[in-house]
């Protein structure tokens, strides 16, 4: 159906369809909102910069096999600790692996972490927050107490404890990060849910006899999404940094996986003589989290103008 509409609208041009004063259906309305947001996003240099960095990161991660000469794990003990030169742009590490290759392949690890944490945290935070906010009463109290406990926990230490309990490794680090980051989302979603819970359309749905779950999922959650997405984008830098921190402490990704935090930790022993081993992954982390911060900043300006004029 959506496809049909799009074709019909083509007669007046896509742009007209997107900017039309009277959208003819929900799909068009949504597409319009999105397009208008994009228009204001596009002129925001900071946001575009962020999009560019994050976009490059994704492209590099996808093209990794074509950008490198291996998988970043091939050892060459006779060629170790080589300074950057024409052959090895970023030098080689303690096992003679090419650092450029490892940085490129490492972007996959970073994106993998960010992606997985996001898809775990978002539904959990949304569900707990919206249910608490919508239902109120003792459900709210219990859910929010649990949330408060997790909020009060020293984050990194909780993450450390979880990884130690689950055993070190990338997947476990991801779970640990998710466990420690969902709580602010629940708070945020609850606050949003409180503002919409007495809206007329929700009351209407209730009168029609929709179940609680249906109301939460179909009507409350969509209202909370924009602020959650903004928050998530801003948090992604933090997720990258936490994952790198866990790797640095030896609890994140395990060798020979080219995770940037692990690379920094390894390079630490070589800092005085072979600066490149840990300096370069440090810059990679800086750049990646900077990209997400810029993007999040821009997204917030566009999607959630209430939260202060920060642009």
């Amino acid at each position: 159906m959506a496809l049909l509409d799009t074709n019909n609208a083509k007669t007046g041009g896509l742009r007209n369809w997107l900017l039309s004063d009277s959208p003819t259906n929900a799909f068009q309305a949504r597409a319009q909102r999105f397009y208008i947001s994009w228009l204001s996003f596009r002129v925001n240099p900071i946001a575009m910069m962020g999009l560019f960095i994050v976009g490059s990161l994704v492209v590099v991660a996808i093209l990794a096999p074509w950008l490198t000469g291996g998988e970043g794990i091939e050892q060459n003990l006779t060629n170790r600790l080589k300074a950057p030169d024409k052959e090895h742009w970023f030098g080689t590490d303690e096992l003679g692996r090419d650092i450029y290759d490892r940085i490129i392949w490492g972007s996959r690890v970073t994106l993998y972490i960010v992606f997985l944490v996001s898809i775990i945290v978002m539904p959990i935070g949304l569900l707990i927050g919206t249910i608490a906010g919508y239902m109120g009463g003792w459900v709210d109290t219990i859910l929010m107490r649990i949330t408060d406990i997790f909020l009060a926990f020293p984050r990194l230490i909780l993450a450390l404890a979880f990884v130690s309990a689950l055993g070190p490794g990338l997947e476990n680090a991801i779970i640990a990060i998710a466990v420690t980051t969902w709580s602010p989302y629940a708070r945020l979603a609850r606050a949003e849910a409180l503002t919409v819970r007495n809206s007329e359309y929700i009351l209407a749905a209730e009168i029609q006899g929709a179940s609680t779950l249906r109301i939460v999922v179909a009507h409350v959650v969509p209202m909370c999404l924009p602020s959650i997405i903004v928050r998530l984008t801003l948090d992604m830098a933090g997720i990258i940094l936490t994952a790198a921190g866990l790797g640095f402490l030896g609890l994140g990704a395990q060798p020979p996986l080219p995770e940037w935090g692990v690379m920094i930790a390894t390079g630490r022993d070589f800092l005085l003589d072979q600066w490149w081993i840990s300096t370069i992954p440090g810059f990679a982390i800086l750049l990646a989290s900077m990209g997400f911060n810029l993007l999040g900043d821009g997204l917030r300006d566009v999607l959630d103008p209430r939260s202060g004029d920060d642009g």
Partner: protein, 354 residues
């Protein structure tokens, strides 16, 4: 407690203002108690499912089975988990977190030794964040869109994005190893060990009180780098929020009125607009302070800073769960406590919330 939110949208909207102060205090105390119990329960459970074995941490790799089993018995690891938790919980309520495996001393004594080091670091870092961050934020707001604004923004974004442990390593290399400007890792040079009897445990304070200025300067030199690293994040956060709050105020009508009246710009900014911002900043500063207390783990690792974060991490690796729980509860309570205090301060200072 909307201020528990950690990076954006701070204190802007109140969710559900409670009717009276008494009610609020009870509410807060109750929340604190629940948090306290929850923290202990979660840490305890984690401690029991850890693959690390506290008995093994004590007897070591070479122990015979008999020695090892005797240690398990002595630690009470043979009892059902609920019994273990109850025993632990009842003594913890009385302020006894048991003995640490790693130090062979009571956990409470260890915390008394390690916590002040973190407190010192986080306090100084927050001070730097406030002293530098607020003027930065105000300047950026006043000169919106100018060079200084972009500078503050980029600087802030770097502060948010840089892996602190990495920056710490690099700065140690530059300022200690290459330039020889600052002393190395640790809290002070060892020859000052025992010079000052610890009173508060905060070295800068203790040495100044005792008039040991050599030690004071030495300790100050040692804290400069780690505190600056830690301050970077808080500076970024505070300057960003200050800027945002200031922009809000500068768009208000009373500012326009003041300007129309011909008041000097300096007075308009600092006496009028900034005074209103100050109220909102209390929450921001409190939050950033609480975050630094819990977030100093990596900085402490890099700078061999004998603080509570390092203590908890090392204990965790050695299955020293008494120490982990003790340390976590202390930090958790501080976190909630600071949030509470800033919340109360906010209510006291802000006429609208009163």
């Amino acid at each position: 407690m909307s201020n528990s939110d950690t990076s954006i949208g701070i204190g802007a909207r109140k969710i559900s203002p409670l009717p009276s102060y008494i009610n609020k205090i009870f509410h807060v105390l109750f929340a604190l108690l629940l948090t306290f119990i929850g923290l202990m329960a979660v840490t305890f459970v984690i401690g029991r499912v850890l693959p690390t074995d506290p008995a093994m941490a004590i007897v070591g790799n070479r122990a015979s089975e008999e020695v090892y089993q005797a240690m398990r018995l002595q630690l009470g690891l043979d009892k059902p988990i609920l019994v273990q938790f109850w025993l632990f919980f009842t003594s913890a309520i009385q302020g006894d977190f048991g003995q640490s495996i790693m130090t062979s001393r009571p956990v409470v004594e260890d915390i008394k030794r390690f916590f002040p080091a973190t407190l010192e670091l986080a306090t100084l870092a927050t001070l730097i964040g406030v002293v530098v961050g607020i003027p930065f934020g105000v300047l950026a707001a006043v000169h919106k869109g100018k060079l200084i604004d972009h500078f503050v923004r980029v600087f802030g974004l770097i502060g948010y994005s840089v892996p602190i442990f990495w920056l710490g390593m690099v700065s140690l290399l530059v300022f200690y190893a290459w330039l020889d400007l600052l002393p190395g890792p640790g809290r002070y040079d060892f020859y000052f060990e025992g010079v000052v009897e610890p009173v508060t445990g905060v070295i800068l304070f203790d040495s100044a009180m005792a008039g040991e200025w050599d030690m004071f300067y030495n300790a100050l030199g040692h804290i400069v780098l780690p505190a600056s690293m830690l301050a970077f994040y808080s500076l970024a956060y505070i300057s960003r929020m200050t800027r945002s709050f200031m922009l809000d105020q500068l768009n208000q009508e009373y500012v326009l009125t003041a300007r129309v009246k011909g008041l000097p710009e300096r007075i308009v900014i600092w006496s009028h607009a900034f005074r209103n911002v100050l109220v909102q900043l209390i929450t921001v500063i409190g939050l950033s302070y609480a975050n630094l207390l819990e977030g100093s783990v990596l900085t402490e690792t890099v700078f061999a800073w004998p603080g509570i974060g390092l203590y908890i991490t090392n204990s965790l690796f050695n299955a020293d769960m008494n120490a982990v729980i003790g340390g976590t509860v202390v930090i958790g309570v501080c976190f909630v406590g600071i949030n509470m205090i800033s919340d109360i301060l906010y209510r006291l200072v802000d006429p609208r919330a009163r």
